[in-house]
Point group: C2
Chain length 107, copies 2
Amino acid sequence: MTDPVGATFAALADPSRRRMLSLMGGSGATATELARELPITRQAVAKHLSQLASAGLVAPTRQGRETRYRITPEPLEDAVAWIVQAGGEWDDRLARLGAYVGGDRTA
Amino acid sequence: MTDPVGATFAALADPSRRRMLSLMGGSGATATELARELPITRQAVAKHLSQLASAGLVAPTRQGRETRYRITPEPLEDAVAWIVQAGGEWDDRLARLGAYVGGDRTA
DNA sequence: GTATAGTGCAACCGTTGAGTTGCGCATGCT
DNA sequence: AGCATGCGCAACTCAACGGTTGCACTATAC
């Protein structure tokens, strides 16, 4: 599983997945909960969740017969770090963000 | 072209395109210049450039027989804004970034 | 004028991705 | 025990993506 930043961006590219991330918030959510709020099947949601998990954006926690997914923020920070280091040199606002993130990642 | 944030993330998902963005830096680059540095054909580079342009990440400038592409930072800032507003509530580092970006975008 | 470097289609191929349906397994409730 | 709920796997369709080859067009250089 090389290219973690790419995996993060690919995961964020899909509207359903972004919606899911917004929906699960801090308390997390289950596949069927998300499927209730989205215009797609529970199985489709499950596949999206598995991709989000592969990208490390989300972590499952099984409790009883439920599997609750919660966000893992680290890859998101890495993604921001990449954008900042890629565009920070000639864009002031991004450059200022770089002071807070302080990463040295290159693709 | 609805879903601009999604288009940005999709554009950033490909390693070749990220590499191209890093390579063109502030002064920009042409298709053949980039093709010289990448293990793919010039036509492949051209297709990537056209996708980057569709996502608004890059703007072409024709001068003579050259077409020089330069980065447009606004979509990158929007992408960072989305990440921050999605994950800022329960992650401190992202939350601090939010103070600088200050966007209200939701997907 | 002729050659050449740079660009822009267009067609084609293999792979991946999003979504569906259908079925089976496990957990919890009564 | 029996039923319902939630999850997981597998097969399939359809469209989009990354990459290639081939050809035509334009502008500079000689």
